[in-house]
Symmetry: C2
Subunit: 419 residues, 2 copies
């Protein structure tokens, strides 16, 4: 069978790690598989290159930044191939461009348009292990080197797995898989052996760092089974895949709890209580190129006015505030307030569909922990609550317990430095 394996930066941080990964790859090949490996840059290489760029130019051109950064994966790919060759096996490294990763031309955040893995196919036919530099491709239009945005090596891996019709795609990092909650917050969190694409999407979209959002989308669309596991152990990890079987009453209603500290809340107060005012506010934000997450329109607080709150990435906070202040006179609201001391806890599980009262359980659990819920949003399989950032960990623990997800004892040992 064809297997695609992706190793993150912490898995190839130094020569010793690279050799260890090489052995693991060879084991997979020895089991009769054709192996294609996507590798990230070693440890902190990307950050070091970014620092170097910063010394030369305060804001380097994205095209040149891509040219610089892609050198990181190029080096780790070549070194990993050397390590495999040194074990008496044949490996060949390819840049994203050589591997046929065709992308849009948006430097720093390009999207994969197509994969033409001709060179990979022939290398596999010759019995080689194929090592592909992750996180990079080549622009279809300009033929320039592009990067897919940080963390996108996962996406490259899944896209290659689909293009190569691989049996599955293994994503190696320094954690044992996907957990019912972040084990750093909930020591009793348990590994999720299997999770559906849609549940993983909700987890990733709501703060679970383990898999890149676009990677999960791609895997789900292409139906590529993804095996998330640690390169520092032989533990089974988590399978992200289509789960066809009927769910039984034994199945947990809730699969996992995700949390996110990266959002901020903006509240627009004294909004004139007229038709279209809210629309103008969100048009203003949208035209600033900002995606918002949750929205709450409060009941009228003062005579004839209302307040509107919404959440957005903290990184867009300044831009949004500036845009709104500019529009203040036109729209005619009183003031705008920024608050980045919030956190989001999300309860995710397909079991919600068949079980009523899940939201009631979630709200009660948080309330009984003495935590005030500032905002709420739900999807068919998710309930998200915004709370004060200081109380986020408690909220996560409260719902994890309330839905009976606590296992006994330490769930996971972290190795390495994360991805």
């Amino acid at each position: 069978m064809r297997v695609v394996q992706k190793f993150g930066g912490s898995s190839v941080a130094d020569a010793a790690s690279i050799k260890r990964v090489a052995k693991r790859i060879i084991d997979t090949q020895e089991q009769g598989n054709e192996v294609v490996v996507i590798v990230s840059a070693m440890g902190d290489t990307t950050d070091e290159l970014l620092d170097l760029a910063g010394e030369v130019s305060p804001n380097p051109r994205p095209r040149e930044l891509d040219m610089l950064l892609t050198a990181g994966e190029r080096m780790s790919a070549a070194l990993l191939a050397m390590a495999i060759n040194d074990l008496g096996y044949t490996a060949r490294s390819f840049t994203g461009s050589q591997a046929g990763v065709i992308t849009t031309e948006k430097h720093g955040d390009a999207r994969i348009i197509d994969i033409t893995p001709g060179r990979i196919e022939s290398a596999l036919d010759e019995g080689d292990v194929v090592i592909v530099a992750g996180f990079q491709g080549v622009s279809q239009t300009t033929k320039d080197v592009t990067t897919l945005g940080r963390g996108a090596s996962d996406t490259t891996a899944v896209a290659l797995a689909a293009a190569l019709k691989a049996g599955y795609c293994e994503i190696y990092s320094d954690v044992d898989g996907v957990f019912s909650a972040d084990p750093r917050i909930v020591p009793g969190a348990s590994r999720i052996p299997e999770i559906s694409y849609e549940e993983m999407l909700e987890m990733a979209a709501n703060g679970a760092k383990i898999l890149h959002l676009r990677c999960v989308e791609y895997a789900g669309r292409e139906g590529v089974p993804v095996h998330v596991r640690s390169s520092f152990s032989d533990n089974p990890g988590t399978w992200v895949k289509n789960i066809e079987k009927e769910r039984t009453v034994e199945d947990p209603i809730i699969t996992g709890i995700a949390h996110d500290r990266s959002e901020a809340k903006i509240t627009v107060v004294g909004v004139p209580d007229r038709i279209g005012a809210a629309g103008e506010i969100f048009t203003t934000v949208a035209e600033a190129g900002i995606n918002i997450d949750m929205i709450v329109q409060n009941v009228s607080v003062a005579e004839g006015t209302t307040a509107i709150s919404f959440t957005l990435p903290q990184s867009d906070g300044d831009k949004a505030m500036a845009a709104l202040r500019d529009a203040r006179a036109t729209i005619g609201f009183a003031d705008v307030i920024y608050n980045d001391r919030i956190g989001k806890v999300s309860v995710v599980g397909v079991g919600m569909r068949s079980h009523p009262g899940v939201s009631a359980t979630a709200f009660r659990a948080v309330a009984e922990a003495g935590i005030n819920i500032e905002m709420i949003s739900t999807s068919e399989i998710r309930i998200s609550m915004i709370v004060n950032s200081e109380q986020l960990d408690n909220a996560v623990r409260a719902v994890h317990t309330a839905f009976g997800l606590d296992s006994d004892g330490q769930a996971v040992v972290y190795a390495g430095t994360g991805r």
Copy 2:
């Protein structure tokens, strides 16, 4: 006019140096030129990458080593482009492959077959400064990334200058040009304002490190004027070009003195004094893939036997000795002696053609310095002498003085770390 500029590793060793080089490039463009820049890897990057490779594999595959090492120039090229963009000008960096440097597939020591500078041409047409990663290309047959061998960025620069029909090619390093002798040995050495390709070839082939031999060959064949100068000063440097004009009596007979410490001498003693014996010895060495430099067949030392000495690169010493020992019985010589404590001093100048007695002057000067000449070889414009390595510096000074090349005072200030 089109100008190609090449900057060595010491010229782009850190962010500050890269910014300084960027200004120099912009100045050249501001003078109304189209500028194409070839850049080496920053400072010791290549050595650091080699160390990294060594940690992973004692002898890495050349293909993978090329993939690894070329990342060095890729980084410096991108950083230099950023620095130029930061000054408000537009620059675009290209890998050797993107620049159309087509090579043979011999990894680590590929030769340029062709240059297809389509992307460079269009970038120049758009008014961009073009930055090309030196020392690398792409194999015509395998499409793999190749390197041209260390120091070959000079060759890339001249080859690009020829392909782009540039007016001239500037090779920037940390020395002020080509000198009548190595200023570290002869403080009174003077800068050579102009030198012919053939003289520069002899200088380079006999130890002058300033220009890569293949680069000079290429420049001479293509008739590309090469301007050798320092990136740490605005001094005029040395022009390597066709010198058509009649030489006058005022012209110095000798242009420069080169020296070389990288050779060793092998002496085969007790060679049977029969026809073909010498031939068998040199066939043996040649079949071991070793190029030899100078040969001396001594007069018969013992009854019916003779001794043959030749010089070769020290790096080939072990290989040659092993091959000869194996052939000892067959050829029937008594013994073979290895000596790497030799040095070669070469007197170079086209003036020799028209002036008799140059060799006499050279031999006398060395002899009067009390130095024994072990071997001699000459070309139409060169006289080389092998002396004891401890006496090499004295020999260089002696001939430099004998041919009236001494100027008064310090000739050059070395900056940076050399190439």
